[in-house]
Amino acid sequence: MFKDRWRTILMPSNRPHANGPHGQMRTGAVATPPATHAPSHSRNSHGLDQFFGSIQDRTELSLLDFTGANQANISFITNLGHRLYSDDVLHSLDATFGDGDFFANQSDPKRVQQFLEQTLNFPDRYFDGALVWDTLQFLAPPLLDLVVDRLFRILRPDAYLLAFFHADEKASTIPVYSYRISDPKTLLLAARGKRPPAQFFNNRSLERLFHQFASVKFFLTRDHLREVIVKR
């Protein structure tokens, strides 16, 4: 299988990403509870644009959404004629690993198995696309590798996966959002509080993470978010 070289596309007026060491593990901490009426803001997303561009003119696809069911995503995706599978994976993570040390619990094989069965128990090659948003950055190894491997298996060949990773390595906690699709190029981000990431990623470590996939493309944006579009 031909594997494209990764490319980083820097948006105007952004500082270059830092090739700092990856794998600096964070200890678990309870996330800051989100505000009842969380502030939200919209942003353009080149990754989202690429994702929906890849499935343009196709209908009756099965898409996976990790942000949790919301009216915007349900309406947008089903109005395109697709079937949506929705799950609030961050909620599932907290439910499975949230008692005690959040990251240390992710090394417990029983909890890991429970999480995978509850969250990613799908047949191989079942989905035509996956919107995993910022979820992966809160997974510590080996759970992270198992989840990425499971995503690879449940996606059909040529399917795309969209993931976001926070790029500011100095931040001890990062904002967590619920991602609402406004249109194929625009997202509305509803704040869900802050929590520490499991680790920070640079382009090289992301390429290693998605080594099974055919290609990995990056978009680094001015709000410290690295958008990654991955092709199965």
Binding site: G68, N70, Q71, I74, F76, T78, R83, S86
Partner: protein, 157 residues
């Protein structure tokens, strides 16, 4: 409220209002078929079927069943596959785990849903068949069938 084993029909008292209710202290295991609107505030395990009516799962309601109705409003908890020929409404603080098949869906912020969503096109009633011509009926060269009645198109956002 009394119930035949495995089967529940509409109550006499509520039928006057056209709506039946299972109260908070009621638990039903089995098959529920209703020919009127139904509100569930108790616990139900099995299947619930209201072909042409509305099912409301109240804030205290816990339904572990496959559900079919014209319209389904969830304020409590539903675990099971849900099918509505018109609309599903999942309110804030509600929880629904299962696969959904419906024409329209509304989900409020704060609701929890996990499962798949299949939006089906509304059923359109077939147009009436044209009258067969008789010797006394003049031929209509450009006759058109009567307009079909819509079954409630989904909201397009």
């Amino acid at each position: 409220m009394s119930a035949m084993p495995g089967r529940m029909n509409e109550t006499h008292g509520d039928s006057l209002r056209g709506s039946a209710t299972l109260g908070k202290s009621v638990m039903v295991k089995g098959q529920i078929i209703s020919r009127e609107d139904l509100t569930i505030d108790g616990e139900v395990e099995g299947t619930v079927e209201l072909q042409e009516h509305r099912l409301t799962v109240g804030p205290n309601g816990k339904v572990q069943a496959s559900v079919k109705a014209r319209e389904i409003v969830v304020l409590g908890t539903v675990q099971g596959n849900v099918e509505a020929t018109d609309k599903i409404d999942i309110r804030k603080d509600a929880k629904l785990v299962g696969d959904i098949k419906t024409v329209r869906i509304v989900i409020e912020d704060g609701a929890y849903f996990k499962g798949s969503i299949d939006i089906s096109k509304p059923e359109v009633s077939k147009p009436a068949a044209p009258r067969p011509q008789t010797a006394s009926t003049p031929a209509a060269l450009n006759a058109q069938p009567p307009l079909a009645a819509g079954a409630g198109a989904g909201d397009k956002r």
